[in-house]
Amino acid sequence: MTALPTRKLEAYRYADIDALASVWTSLDSPARVEIAAQQKLQQIWLPSGEEVDVRRVEMVLEAGAVARIFALNNAARYGRFELDVTMHEGADFAFYGANIGGGDSTLEIVTTLRHVAPGATSHQMIRSVLGDKATGSFLGRIEVAREGQQTDAEQSVKAMLLDRGATANAKPELEIFADDVKCAHGATVGELDKNQLFYAAARGMDPATARALLLEGFVGGLWDEIEGNDQGIAEVARQALRKVAA
């Protein structure tokens, strides 16, 4: 069995190792998901409800495969969603993830996307809402191999801090060996807008309701691309936001 990682490892630099230790035996080899050529997969990752909620997934997209992952990371103590994706020719991968937490929770989304063949696209949208003393991180590594020409890789990472004690980390990491590649990434950390809060108050919204609504607006775009009528994750996210906004 693989040894428990330490924080010296880049991908674990913000991890809660004690919490990880409590679940590590069942996790030391990641779950494997293969999507055959031209096939399409949509997955919705809801919080497990456990106070330590760690997932490790390795995903392979064969040529022309499409994957859409929607993930809500909302564990009370430690939530880690770790995803390693290999994309073959023309594959299309998108990850929409939220870290929503308060208390002294540690939430992290750690992705490694490997563009190993020409013409694959990846799109990642991460939104974190952190209250109290929570820490939310996104570590997004993108590797484009020499064969990965016409790669189009995009990351949009935004965090909202509700309290002084909350922390957001965003670390994009690019390793590019092809020359014809589009990689766009942007990361911002902000607070709720005072003008928006006053506007909502002037229309009669109490502060907690106003904060929750603005946060829903901040996070809501994550679920727009869900296919089929599966908006359960939006509702669970809304509950989680109400809780951190209260």
Partner: protein, 247 residues
């Protein structure tokens, strides 16, 4: 309805309102005019309870109660509406969602039941129609990408939905074309011309007052009311400018 007495207020430590006294009786529409920087928006924000606007002296009674004892959202629930000179954009939150949440918050605080989705849609469609606004616009994020005039119309749609006792409308007429001005004037009259309601209309121009005839007109200069009169005062100001009229 609204009794403002010797009001002093500072913004960022700077005195802006310097002993402002003004009473707006129930059933009346009053206009406030005055030069840029006189403190008109400051007055509106102080009445709305905006953080950062500090009251250092004086009092305001709204419908018999001490206004400053109420939080901003409680003032709204008590029947005060603030129309913004610069309405705020909220990306990601639709107007329908925003207003439904706001209206239901107000209703809950008064012990009333939430409006159902259907009831709320009907109400907002009615009010949009009253203001000549396409109700489809309310599906868009709050004020995002709205033109200046559309934002002001949307403020009036909100006025209709909230149906307040007192409306403080800060330059609702600026940025409006002639048709929108008419629509807004008509909207204010039909929503607020009521023996049980009052309006404080902040404006720079006579044009809006051609549609909404004020009972009284006041000139605000350097944080005080320096002159008051009937509707004819607005004409005089337009002819002669503030410097003359306030002298």
């Amino acid at each position: 309805m609204l009794k403002i007495e010797n009001l002093h207020a500072t913004v960022a430590g700077k005195p802006i309102l310097n002993g402002l006294t003004l009473t707006i009786p129930t059933g009346e529409i009053h206009a406030i005019m005055g030069p840029n920087g006189a403190g008109k928006s400051t007055l509106a924000y102080v009445l709305g309870g905006r953080p950062g606007y500090e009251v250092t002296e004086g009092s305001v009674t709204f419908d018999g109660q001490d206004l400053f004892a109420l939080e901003p959202h409680e003032r709204a629930a008590a029947g005060m509406f603030l129309g913004f000179q610069y309405p705020v954009e909220i990306p990601g939150v639709s107007y329908l969602q925003f207003l439904r949440e706001a209206l239901n918050s107000q209703r809950r605080s008064k012990g009333e039941k939430d409006l159902t989705g259907g009831e709320f849609i009907r109400l907002s469609k009615d009010k949009a129609a009253l203001l000549g606004m396409d109700a489809e616009m309310l599906k868009r994020p709050v004020n995002v990408g709205f033109s200046g005039g559309e934002k002001k119309r949307a403020e009036m749609v909100q006025l209709g939905i909230m149906d307040p006792k007192v409306a403080i409308l800060d330059e609702t007429d600026s940025g409006l074309d002639i048709d929108a001005l008419k629509a807004v004037g008509h909207g204010i009259n039909s929503i607020m011309r009521d023996p049980k309601k009052s309006v404080l209309l902040i404006t720079h121009y006579q044009r809006l007052l051609d549609y909404v005839t004020p009972d009284r007109v006041h000139v605000l200069s350097r944080g005080q009311i320096v002159r008051s009169g009937g509707p004819e005062l607005a004409h005089e100001l337009e002819r002669e400018g503030y410097a003359e009229a306030a002298a």
